[in-house]
Symmetry: C2
């Protein structure tokens, strides 16, 4: 039984024929400029994207119930789901407060780190999400250079004697905890493929890291990514609308070619 | 060469004869009440504590540059260092934004998760801290029930063939990255002792989890904790000042007894 958030994402994807998620990571010298630039980017690219991901680039300078809430409200008018990339990794009582605040402000899903575990860890976030009909997306393998240090390390289970990569353990937790999405960096296509091998089509893979970080769209999709998350490439473009359209079309063309291949 | 933040903490400890850090985790029905309650708690307990730790309980409802900044300013007037418990675990470019915003708002130190690694991970946070003279405290073993899932897991190094607990790897990283503090839950005194065995007196151990979560002050200090972080026990007390004083005195009495023992 998928949560409401997953149906929302599927509806948005179909409506715009897009699997492109905008990471609205705007950098400007003051909050007013960050806000106006964010709003103008949304206005220009909304027909090419299926959702918006917001992180501390906006939350800290604008405030959650101030500027960020207004951005979420505009996204709602445009029927664009919003995801908060807060990478929640606190103890249960604080995680509950985190989820309640972000969902109350209007976010449709939040991103959390499974490293913190279940009991008195992520459990309250899933409970709040269930209660409010929102989504939880888990970090399975991040896109940055040092991802190997944590996500790529080998974990030894003294009871079974087995050694498994951290990201495989996380992917299995995503399944057993009934997560709504799995973040895997487009910069590591071989990890996408292995994680897809565990998740199959039951939990969609969200891949950041295309563009500035070096990930390739077609390789990521071929390996198993479902949604592509793109930030700086669009946000810092001279013409964000044109760039977003090009990326959206490139994703769709890759999907067509892959359908022929497989 | 310790960062300014560590000297600030030592000065504050001496001034008030206290190793008690207040976790200002206030829960109220609206932002106005959260703000006024937070301010009144600070006014009543400030002579018994050596620092204030603030997390998403305040940041999300109040806003960083709104209510939280005003709380930090009041703490500065009282010469109380402030620590933001944001558990940063993002990619480098976002971590840089996180550190810049929190430090610009006035926080003296931030808490980060070493799981994210160094390159394009926590490195920018340490760079910003160095530049602005602030501190970085790392999570080594959290206080909640599921901490064993991540912090307590065994990591296998295929090159050396060695197996090491995650928290030992994190403690070694805290040393090599020159962290200003190490968070270890008071709920796990045997982990405090092992981590103290690695850090010695070069990086102070900060221990949350006393009181509601079940940690014991004297056991934690005996095992190697330097600072005790207490939230709900004080924040939800009928008389926060009296409770803070009792805890501060209990810490100091434990220190005296331990000095005689060792």
């Amino acid at each position: 039984m998928p949560r409401e958030f997953r149906l929302l994402m599927e509806k948005s994807e179909k409506k715009r024929n897009s699997r492109l998620i905008l990471a609205l990571d705007v950098v400007e010298e003051n909050p007013e400029k960050i806000f106006s630039r964010s709003m103008s980017i949304i206005e220009s690219v909304h027909e090419y994207i299926c959702a918006i991901k917001i992180n501390h680039h906006l939350i800290l300078p604008l405030g959650l119930f101030n500027g960020v809430k207004r951005i979420i409200e505009r996204a709602r008018e445009l029927e664009l789901p919003t995801i908060v990339d807060c990478k929640a990794n606190d103890i249960g009582s604080t995680n509950r407060i985190i989820a309640e605040n972000y969902f109350r402000a209007g976010f449709d899903a939040l991103i959390a780190n499974p490293f913190v575990g279940w009991e008195d860890g992520l459990q309250p976030i899933f409970e709040v999400a269930d209660k409010m009909g929102r989504g939880v997306i888990l970090l399975i393998y991040m896109s940055h250079k040092a991802a190997w240090e944590g996500y790529g390390q080998n974990v030894y289970d003294p009871t079974s004697g087995r050694v498994e990569p951290q990201y495989i353990i996380f992917a299995k937790k995503a399944l057993s905890w009934n997560a709504d999405g799995a973040i895997v960096g487009a910069t590591y296509p071989e990890k996408i493929r292995k994680i897809y091998g565990i998740l199959g089509d039951s939990i969609p893979i969200y891949s950041p890291g295309v563009g500035v970080q070096g990930g390739d769209i077609e390789t990521a999709i071929l390996a198993g990514s479902y949604y592509l998350i793109v930030g700086r490439l669009i946000v810092e473009a001279d013409n964000p609308a044109r760039t977003a359209k090009i990326i959206r079309d490139r994703i769709n063309n890759s999907l067509k070619r892959i359908k022929k291949l497989i």
